[in-house]
């Protein structure tokens, strides 16, 4: 479904990604794990074209995204739920969700998708008229994921959905990712919460200082001595 081919990217003269390649197949849940500053967020930004790569390409369902304008990427079926949630704090929950369904195709199916999101997050329905910025971190994360789903994506990009949340809520977020997957969405999830994300995804890539150091099925990575030592403290 999604192919990232030999992507390098950075900010000004600083390079954050070096020749990164990865693939996500339809129906999979794939993780990108790695420490703070590894370039995980940068990778997702390249995929959704918030920043342009210096070399390499991103291909979604056979179409090279280099010729697609940034605001059209979502129409290609890619929804990006950004780091730190980035809700519009002074819009209501329902208005935030409406923004997720901005493109014409999504607008047509707005009512149907809103029902789906409210069914998935009954809490959001209760809070639909509340300013998004006044909700708790966990609720905001749900709203952010809901906003991503409103576009009717094929592929959902999640950037550290568990960051900054209380342990109980983290559990909820990961079981939600499972549920979303079961609904048929393909998921690419970036996490530092390595132990837990590996319980949810089929495969993962380990990113360190801008390069892919290791990749494979979750069970394999969980068993890998390097990962156990460096990241799981075992």
């Amino acid at each position: 479904m999604l192919e990232v081919r030999n992507v390098s990217a950075g900010y000004g003269s600083f390079r954050a990604l070096f020749d990164v390649s990865l693939e996500v197949r339809a129906g999979e849940a794939v993780g990108v794990i790695g420490p703070n500053g590894a370039g995980k967020t940068t990778l997702l930004r390249v995929i959704s074209k918030i920043i342009a790569p210096t070399s390499g390409s991103v291909v979604m369902e056979g179409q090279d995204l280099s010729r697609v304008p940034a605001h059209r990427v979502v129409e290609m079926g890619i929804a990006h739920v950004p780091e730190h949630r980035r809700l519009f704090p002074r819009l209501t929950v329902e208005e935030n969700l409406r923004m997720g369904a901005f493109h014409p195709e999504a607008r047509r199916r707005h009512a149907e998708r809103l029902d789906f999101v409210y069914e998935l997050f009954p809490r959001m329905k209760e809070r639909r008229l509340q300013m998004a910025g006044t909700m708790s971190g966990g609720e905001q994360q749900m709203c952010a994921i809901g906003r991503g789903l409103m576009s009717g994506p094929k592929l959902l990009l999640l950037d550290e959905p568990s960051a900054g949340l209380a342990p109980v809520i983290v559990q909820q977020v990961f079981s939600l990712v499972r549920r979303i997957r079961a609904e048929g969405y393909t998921v690419l999830i970036v996490e530092q919460n390595i132990q837990q994300v590996l319980q949810v995804v089929d495969r993962a890539y380990l990113l360190e200082v801008g390069t892919i150091k290791q990749s494979g099925p979750s069970a394999e990575l969980l068993a890998s001595p390097e990962i156990r030592r460096a990241y799981l403290g075992l």
């Binding site: 918030i50 990427v73 002074r90 208005e95 906003r147």
Partner: protein
């Protein structure tokens, strides 16, 4: 004893407030969304007034048609201003945006002087005076007030009920992620500029019924508009709306209790005092 003159001036203040609110709204919308102050805003209103004057008086276009053309024309002017003057300096130091729109102010003033001379021109429509008890109100003012309120209401409905309006409010809160929503920020800025210009056009059509147009007309309500916006909190549309009515009361009632000029003096003193009490605007968070 019941003072019907005082009541009359309070109501006149209310009527004036409507127009000030409309003026402030366009400026606040543009500032709130694009983060640029259109210093030349009142001069856009002047262009609209000239357009109506010439279309109606010289080309004998029916008034409604002249007004519609002026509103569309000034909306287009707003888009041109954004695309060719503001867009090139967006993202540079804020002073540049003040300088370029300030430049447009002087350009429009000078261009109007060159093209039309310094005469005061009036479209020559005599509006009736409405009598209510022993109070008198200008029909033009009542019309202006009603139109301003309808304009404000329509804008509010647009901003809260439509996808585009929601995007306009969203972009001022987080520009970077707008493409993730499928929104092209440049398009939103152009649309916002068109609406801001359109509001200047509507204001022009209301003012041209009450005032003569001349190249310096912008100076007679531009500064008041800016003060209203600043008092309400630049970019805060509700604040600007309320501030417009407060300001208008000072001008109108102050003018009645003392003298017309004193109304303005009191309003400005109040403005300065407010700047010490609430420097970020009436409803600052």
């Amino acid at each position: 004893m019941f003072d019907s003159f005082l009541l009359e001036s309070i109501i006149n203040g209310l009527l004036l407030g409507g127009v000030l609110a409309l003026l402030a709204l366009g400026l606040n919308l543009v500032f709130g969304v694009i983060d640029v102050v259109w210093i030349c805003y009142a001069e856009l209103v002047m262009v609209g007034m000239y357009a109506i004057f010439f279309l109606y008086v010289y080309y004998e276009v029916p008034l409604a048609g002249a007004i519609a053309a002026a509103v569309l024309g000034v909306a287009l002017l707003g888009m041109i201003l954004h695309r060719f003057v503001i867009e090139p300096v967006l993202g540079t130091a804020p002073i540049n945006q003040l300088l370029v729109t300030g430049g447009v102010l002087f350009f429009l003033q000078a261009a109007a002087t060159l093209a039309f001379g310094i005469e005061f021109r009036n479209i020559g429509i005599r509006m009736p005076v409405v009598e209510f008890g022993d109070m008198f109100f200008s029909f033009a003012r009542i019309l202006a007030f009603a139109t301003a309120l309808v304009g404000v209401l329509l804008l509010w409905l647009f901003l809260t009920r439509t996808y585009l309006g929601t995007a306009i409010r969203a972009i001022s809160q987080d520009r970077e992620i707008m493409p993730l929503m499928g929104v092209d920020p440049r398009r939103i800025y152009l649309i916002t500029s068109a609406i801001g210009g359109g509001m200047a056009g509507v204001a022009a059509s209301l003012l041209v019924l009450q005032y003569d147009v001349h190249p310096a007309i912008g100076l007679s309500f531009g500064p008041i508009t800016f003060m209203v916006c600043v008092m309400g909190g630049l970019g805060n549309m509700l604040g600007g709306f309320v501030a417009a009515f407060i300001f208008a009361q000072f001008i109108s009632v102050g003018g009645y209790l003392f003298q017309i000029e004193w109304g303005y003096v009191i309003a400005f003193c109040f403005f300065i005092a407010m700047m010490f009490v609430r420097p970020k605007g009436l409803f600052s968070r």
